[in-house]
Amino acid sequence: MDWRQLWEICSAPDNVPIVGLIPLLIFYIYLAWKQARANDELIGQLETNPAMAKTHHRKSWPFRPGWQKEIHVWPFLLRMEFLVAMIVTIILMVWSITLNAPLEEPANPNLTMNPAKAPWYFLGLQEMLVYFDPWIAGVVMPTLIIVGLMVIPYIDTNPLGSGYYTWKQRKFSIGTFLFGFIILWIAMIIIGTFIRGPGWQWFWPGQTWDHNRLIYEVNRDLPDLFGITSNLGKAIFGGIVVGGFYAVGGFIMHSLFRRYNPKDYKRMSLLQYSIMMFFVLSMVALPAKMLLRLAWHIKYVWITPWFNV
């Protein structure tokens, strides 16, 4: 165990935000989960007790008749805002006094940094470079992330759970978002920050960075495993595999979604349904490709003269 190495990575000034992000996320997930559970309990009660549903104020916080439903922004909201601004300022001040922003040697194109890392908030994409070509990891994925986020309000047809925390009423959408945000975005950033060392190789936390380590990986392409040698054959084969992933995956998704989310399924238009399918399957494709690479050393699935997937 190389504590020094571990300390150096964790205390590198630009990594500190990520070290801070982890407990922050845990705290806020806990906060959301606590409220979701309270609301879900209330929903359960109200569903079994229609009389109560008629009179209840429908929030998990106490409310007594006679209490005002609305309060003045001045002072009740403004004092909160002032307090929060003060606290943020204090945190920022203390942080800025105790920790200096990094400044390395002057830029030198002839002296490559190893590892050369993108800013931490893009490390998820850089990590994807291990598994995908740059045009996918660097261009297609960011585009899909942005477009995917933008279509969310238009494909989520579930009217429940608007304006309060809940889990039971929105299992699928919250589950999908957590998968995308926590696993595909945050976890990849954490790997990129704490695990990737020189040559973008995998070093466990506390393992000494060995700048001379070489790993002989013999990567194969999927068509090779099937003995396909002609270029045309590879292109067609890959197209079938990728298309097949979306077709078979789509079918499995369909049969699950139809069963477990019948109401949403009924509400969704064909366009909404296909867009949702496309994005969910594309998200699942990332761990699928990672698995292919890690378990079977497969580099490309689809090889064409113009691009490889």
Binding site: P17, E81, A107, W135, V139, V140, P153, G163
Partner: protein, 307 residues
């Protein structure tokens, strides 16, 4: 002045002197008697500054503790009138919004202030840029604190935007009628990341240089528009005319890239982001204020639209 003869005017002169004397006496008398009275009045007036002309010219209403004035205090103030006068009693609970949108906005303001101050010491040119940062760190009074605050506030802002988006998702706040504002939000997220990214190069050190090199190398692979991307060659892309060249103003990260970064970072993106923020806040109000904490809805109460 016409010549005056004899003592003819003597009496008059004495009269004038008398008059002046009497006048001065009166003046002194008035100073003695009026000024203390005025001073008293003035001090009385200070006890209630809200009645002064200066005050009433600034604040357009009284400050009495009445519901009307509490509301006016918010509505008649250009900065506060983003808020409604009254809100849902639970909406001020920290546990609902986590205050993250507000924190993001506050950090943006901090970044603008510290950023403008940094600009006084910074030249976006090769060699000079790095020296400016050294100068800032070692010689400018509080320069190091200034730079640290700008950097850490930027990192915090990225984290705060993510958490804000996360909370908006978890509370389902993107649902009708807030779909459009969620989209404005996604754009704000992109611009926040781009702001941070363009700032990374500015110290012109190894860290920024290689981070931006790694980042923009990806642009090389843009399908159709990058010289190494799929179909790039077919469309005539070379390292000297592709999208990466356009971003960097050259085929490598050099002086032009530094200048472009600087202009995007200090002028272009902040303006776009500010405009988007204005729209974002406007829409929060127009969409009916903050979405919750709303009363829970039961599945049995959903009205299915008739098809």
């Amino acid at each position: 002045m016409p010549e005056e003869n004899g003592n003819g005017n003597n009496g008059k002169r004495v009269g004038l002197l008398e008059r002046v004397k009497a006048g001065v006496k009166e003046d002194v008398q008035s100073l003695r008697s009026d000024m203390p009275a005025k001073a008293k009045e003035q001090i009385e007036g200070l006890k209630d500054p809200t009645k002064t002309q200066v005050y009433t010219s600034i604040f357009r209403h009284k400050h009495d503790d009445t519901p009307r004035n509490r509301a006016l205090g918010v509505l008649s103030n250009v900065f506060l009138h983003l808020h409604p006068a009254k809100i849902n009693r639970d909406a001020v609970r920290y546990s609902y919004t986590w205050g993250m949108g507000g924190i993001t906005f506050y950090l943006f303001i901090v970044l603008t202030l510290t950023g403008v101050m940094l600009m006084f010491y910074y030249h976006p040119s090769k060699v000079q840029a790095f020296r400016d940062v050294l100068y800032l760190e070692h010689d400018v009074p509080f320069g190091k604190l200034l730079r640290n605050m700008h950097r850490w506030a930027a990192h915090l802002m990225v984290i705060a935007v993510w958490l804000h988006m996360f909370r908006v998702f978890l509370t389902g706040s993107y649902k009708k009628p807030r779909e459009f504002n969620w989209n404005i939000g996604v754009l704000l997220l992109v611009f926040t990341l781009l702001l941070s990214f363009t700032g990374y190069l500015l110290p012109d050190d190894q860290l920024g240089f290689w981070a931006v090199t790694v980042g923009t190398n990806m642009a090389r692979a843009t399908p159709g528009l990058g010289n190494e991307g799929p179909f790039g060659h077919m469309l005539g892309m070379t390292p000297y005319n592709d999208v990466r060249f356009g971003l960097l103003g050259g085929s490598i990260v050099d002086a032009n890239a530094l200048l472009r970064s600087y202009i995007w970072h200090c002028i272009g993106i902040p303006i776009v982001a500010s405009v988007l923020m204005i729209v974002h806040f406007w829409r929060v109000r127009k969409d009916g204020g903050i979405s919750g904490p709303a009363a829970v809805m039961l599945a049995s109460e959903v009205k299915e639209p008739k098809k």
